[in-house]
Symmetry: none
Subunit: 210 residues, 4 copies
């Protein structure tokens, strides 16, 4: 177990991931070729295949840590803001949007992959799982905010609607030339207003239906 080599290997892999992450984020998965990634990473394109089964696997592995990190963050907010679900919802939403704007390739992961495709063993599985977990967490927060019953049709519908809005917020700026932070700053208020308004609507609707 020579230390030097291991380090070098890890470096290379990290370089590749960094390069792919950068390029995917800026130009999108499809538009980026393996050769470009290699050039950006400072290695041969064949080297990529040492570390990753194929292009898709590269994307998946690239996404994993960020997704896990995001999930963790979601969980923390969920814990800390237990008393104040509305706050939790807002923070989670901001987290999610910032995350997607920062990792524009994530858009593909989250929204462009057919959610049904679950070949059990495929690497998409894991990602799907996390995605579903995140959705589940969001649903719980929506439940805490609205007092709707766990498992109810309406709760599902509302969470979906909420997700539509998040999706739209992220998607709208997918191809913008502004950086994530610029966007967040410029639109923070609008986004917040969106969260708030939607939540108000949920409550009002629920109230009026009783």
């Amino acid at each position: 177990m020579p230390r030097k080599k291991q380090v070098r290997s890890e470096d290379t892999k990290r370089d590749i991931l960094a390069a792919a992450g950068k390029l995917f984020a800026v130009r999108g998965y499809d538009a980026v070729s393996m050769r470009e990634i290699a050039k950006e990473a400072g290695c041969s394109h064949t080297t990529i295949y040492i570390y990753f089964e194929d292009k898709e696997a590269l994307l998946n592995e690239l996404s994993m840590p960020s997704l896990l990190k995001l999930k963790e963050n979601f969980g923390e907010v969920f814990q800390h803001e237990r008393e104040n679900p509305q706050n939790a919802l807002k923070q989670i939403s901001q987290l999610f949007i910032r995350f997607c704007l920062l990792n524009r390739n994530m858009y593909r992961i989250f929204f462009e992959v057919k959610a049904e495709r679950v070949d059990e063993d495929s690497p998409e599985m894991e990602i799907n799982q996390i995605r579903n977990q995140l959705f589940g967490l969001l649903m719980q927060v929506v439940r805490d905010c609205t007092g709707l019953m766990e498992g109810s049709e309406r709760l599902l519908a509302y969470t979906r609607i909420y997700f539509y809005m998040l999706h739209g917020m992220v998607g709208t700026y997918q191809y913008s030339e502004e950086t994530a932070e610029e966007l967040m700053q410029r639109l923070a208020d609008t986004f917040d207003e969106g969260f708030e308004v939607l939540l108000l609507g949920f409550r009002e609707k629920t109230k009026s239906d009783h």
Copy 2:
């Protein structure tokens, strides 16, 4: 300028547009090759280049009529439901979503093109214009629904938020294998609930801020 020829020529162009429209709608812009379009249109692939600068231009020109039609429909609803703006908003929203699901290539037109890119003369200009007009109409309806002041920051924000939701609704099913109608049927209620809830939220927020 012989008459016969001109007709023939216009026919060809129409055939190309029809073919491209059909294929783009079903399989998406990227997945369709020029040769396929030509085959479907019953002409040579080189012929397409007589009428259209390149593939992108074809998409743009193709989108024009549908967009105009959509704008027209928006206008009609706007007129007929003047008394009932909430109804208008709902109908316009449904119109828009159905339109996007039916013409999946429209997603690209509407949401994937950088809104800022206005090189004045570029063909994107026109599309941008219409897009802005549609957004303007949507804003008017939102105004009528909420009583907010024309040109106010809040009205702009709310319309944006509304647009986010529409975007998310369309985007979520961009890669679904269900047809537009299947989706509309399955999700009609959820969508309607989304429109309603958001509107309720707008009103509640506006009220509470006074």
Copy 3:
């Protein structure tokens, strides 16, 4: 129907076939790349794909005419030497061997493809058909030479054995550097002796079993 173009097209296709034929013959199907064929043919490698679905199709189309010609020749011999089946067998055998040595790629066609693979519509079908027809003709000649009953197990076995020998004769010199004609000249007597001896054996065996 511009004449010039058609001619040019035919020329190109012919050039490609010629180039492929030459290279396949010399170095074998697998060892030859599309780009090499293109270079030899004096065109771009993409041009090949205008005329042929893929590499396999190129091989098939390349083989077709020669195969048909061979079948025709088989038929002629069969007709002309009706009175003298032993002569027919000899001539057919020589024809076959010369053919295979001249078109070394044919070895692949004849011997390397799984005979069972009959996906009905595949282009291999046609070739398989011809191959089977040739085998059938050979069987008839063997029958005429031995007096064995049509459809009998023994006739099938003998034809197979005969085919083994032909296969071996061709295969042995598959990678030789001598030209087909050199080989034919040098080995003509040995080959002829092979045909004769085997036939003698068939007869003797048949006789002794009665």
Copy 4:
């Protein structure tokens, strides 16, 4: 030169040969990659290059023992069946065919390498030598069966012819999906008939020429 190390080293080499032998036999030389061999052998693919110049050399060295074993078997049959040459021929033939079907890579060794290529020092030399020895043994048995004179043209021709048939038998099933044993069982009678018939033919021909 510590003893332990040397043993270890020889183990590795043996493992590599075993792995390559297994994989080549099952899937064929071309279809097996160095990495696969290494994985099967439980070592790094670079290690292979310590012991073998290149892939071809690996194949050659791999073939050596089997070939020697085959030669040994040939010799044994030759000894034991001295009284009954016809029996010897049959057994040798069966041995050879089973051997080739079991080691499909041998086909390459035996039949695909230019027999002339004898650069004196090349590793092919050795193999060529053994091949020639085997051919020589076969010739002796044919001689014993036919009574032809050692060194006579005719004996050479007959042995060649016999070899053609063996070649064809092996070659025909080179790409079959049946295992060696399945093939041997299914075709044993046909093969035997081939040996017998050919021998009968030799005798008859020889007789008739006197």
